[in-house]
Amino acid sequence: MRKFWKIKSRPREVSKEEVKGLILLNEVSEAMKADRLLRGLGYRVKAVAPPPEVRKGCDLSIEFALIDRLGVERVLRENEIPALDIVPLDYVESKPLEITKEVDYGKHLMIRAANMKLTFEKSTGKIVNISGGGCPDVPYLTLEMVGKSLDETPEPETIGFSLCAFMLQKAYSRALEKFSKEI
C-alpha cells in the first residue's frame, strides 16, 4: 500500500509555476518528521516559515505541490502526524537558510548553519563540540552527540524538536559530507 504513494522517483523542489500548499503543524519536530518522510517517499517538499499570522516563535511548516495533497494527507495520517491545517500558499514565503560556513582549526573543522555550530575531529569524525543556538534541545543534543563519531551519533532531526535542531541537522549533514570526502 505504501508503495502506491511512492509517486516520484526523483525529488525536486516545487517550481514557481505550480500551485503550492502549506502543511501547518503544531511543533517543529512534527514538521521535521513530515519533511523526512515525504522527502523519502519522493514528494517535492520544502521546509518554510509559516505565514506571519500563525507564527508562535519557533515554527516550521512544509510546502508541497498542491496536486499531491491527497497523498501527502495519507502519509501524515498513516504516520500519526496531526496537521493543524493544509492551506494553499499565497504569501511570500521565507525558508530556513540552506548555506553553511566552515572554519578550519587544523585538526578540527567547525561547520556553521545559521546560529548552530558543530565541530569535529577531521581524522576520526568525532564530534568534539556543539555551540550556538537558544532552544532547549540544543543542550540536550550536545549531551547526546558530543564524543560520538559522525556516523554513529543520533541525527539531530531524529531526536531534536526545534528550529535550532533543524539547523544543527544541516551543519551535521555538511560535516558528514566533508568527513566522507576526507576518508
Partner: protein, 292 residues
C-alpha cells in the same frame, strides 16, 4: 538579588528554585547537582563563581527540565508570570527556553510596573522570543553572537534559522552595520554585547567599546562560552558595576579565563569557568594576560 531563569536538558525535572553554588566542577541547586555544559547550567555556574569571587550573594535560580519538546518551557513561562513579581529581582537574566512569543509577552507584562528598577538581560531562546515578539526595547542588554546579530538585524526573521542569506553571508564581517540596522528596526535594547572574534559593546546602536585581546579563536567552537559571558556579566551588574563597564569587564574576563585554560576545540566549558576568579583578579588589577 540576581535571578536567573532557564531550562536544563534533564527530562522530567520539575520546577526547581534555589541558590546556586559551584562545588568544584559541579553546580549545586537545591539538592540538585549538575555538570555544567552548554546552556543555562554553564551560565548559572559562571554567575555563581563570579558572585563568590566578588563576595556577593549567590544567584537565585529558577530552572526546569526541557529537552526541546517545549513542555518545561511552557510551565516555566507560566510560573514566572506570578513568581517574578514576588521575587522582584534587581537583576533578571533570562536564558535557554523555547522562544514562544505570546508567553514571553505575558511574562514581561507581569513585571511591567517593577521593570524600571530591574536590569533585564536576555540571551539564547529568551532573546529570540523577545525580538520575535517585538519586545527588545523592554530589555536592558542582549548578548548575541554574530549569527544572532544577523537575526536581530533582519526585521522579518522570527528565528535565526530564517535570516536572509545576504545577512548570513556578512554576519562576521559587517557586525557594526548589523548593529545599526537592528537598532533602526528597534530590535535591540539600549545596550548590546556582541560576542565574537571582536566583542562589541554598543549603546543606542553605536559602538562605545571593543574588546579584542587576548585572541583565542577556538573559543567560538566550544559550546557554552557565550553562556559563560552572560553569566559573568549578570554577576558583575548584580555586584554594582555600571552596565557598560560590566560589559567591558565581562568580555575581558571571559577571554582571559579562556586564555588561562589553554583550550582546544574539545575543551569542556567547565575548565574555562574554573578560571574565572583568576581572570577576574587580573582584570580588576588592570593587568593584561601574559599567561599563554
Amino acid at each position: 538579588m540576581l535571578t536567573i531563569v532557564g531550562t536544563i536538558p534533564v527530562s522530567g525535572l520539575g520546577l526547581t528554585e534555589g541558590k546556586a553554588i559551584l562545588r568544584g566542577f559541579n553546580l549545586a541547586i537545591e539538592g540538585l547537582e549538575l555538570v555544567p555544559s552548554l546552556g543555562t547550567s554553564a551560565m548559572v555556574s559562571a554567575a555563581a563563581i563570579t558572585c563568590e569571587a566578588l563576595g556577593c550573594e549567590p544567584p537565585l535560580v529558577v530552572i526546569i527540565g526541557d529537552i526541546g519538546d517545549g513542555k518545561g518551557s511552557r510551565e516555566l513561562y507560566k510560573y514566572l508570570m506570578f513568581r517574578l513579581p514576588e521575587l522582584n529581582p534587581t537583576v533578571l537574566a533570562m536564558h535557554y527556553i523555547m522562544p514562544y512569543t505570546a508567553e514571553m509577552r505575558k511574562v514581561i507584562d507581569a513585571i511591567r510596573t517593577q521593570k524600571e528598577e530591574m536590569t533585564i538581560l536576555a540571551d539564547a531562546g529568551s532573546m529570540y522570543a523577545a525580538k520575535a515578539a517585538g519586545l527588545a526595547g523592554e530589555f536592558d542588554i542582549f548578548t548575541p553572537d554574530s549569527g544572532e546579530m544577523a537575526y536581530l538585524a533582519d526585521p522579518d526573521a522570527s528565528h535565526p534559522a530564517y535570516v536572509q542569506h545576504l545577512l548570513f553571508e556578512i554576519d562576521t564581517s559587517e557586525t557594526i552595520n548589523l548593529i545599526k540596522k537592528a537598532y533602526e528596526h528597534q530590535n535591540i535594547p539600549k545596550l548590546l554585547l556582541v560576542k565574537g572574534v571582536v566583542d562589541y559593546i554598543a549603546k543606542g546602536g553605536r559602538i562605545v567599546k571593543t574588546v579584542e585581546e587576548p585572541v583565542i579563536p577556538v573559543m567560538e567552537s566550544i559550546g557554552g562560552t557565550g553562556d559563560v559571558l552572560i553569566g559573568i556579566l549578570s554577576a558583575l551588574i548584580h555586584a554594582g558595576y555600571e552596565k557598560v563597564d560590566a560589559c567591558i569587564k565581562a568580555a575581558k574576563v571571559n577571554r582571559i579565563a579562556g586564555k588561562i585554560a589553554r583550550p582546544v576545540p574539545a575543551t569542556p566549558v567547565s575548565e574555562i569557568i574554573a578560571k574565572i576568579p583568576a581572570a577576574l583578579k587580573m582584570v580588576e588589577a588592570g593587568s593584561t594576560c601574559d599567561c599563554g
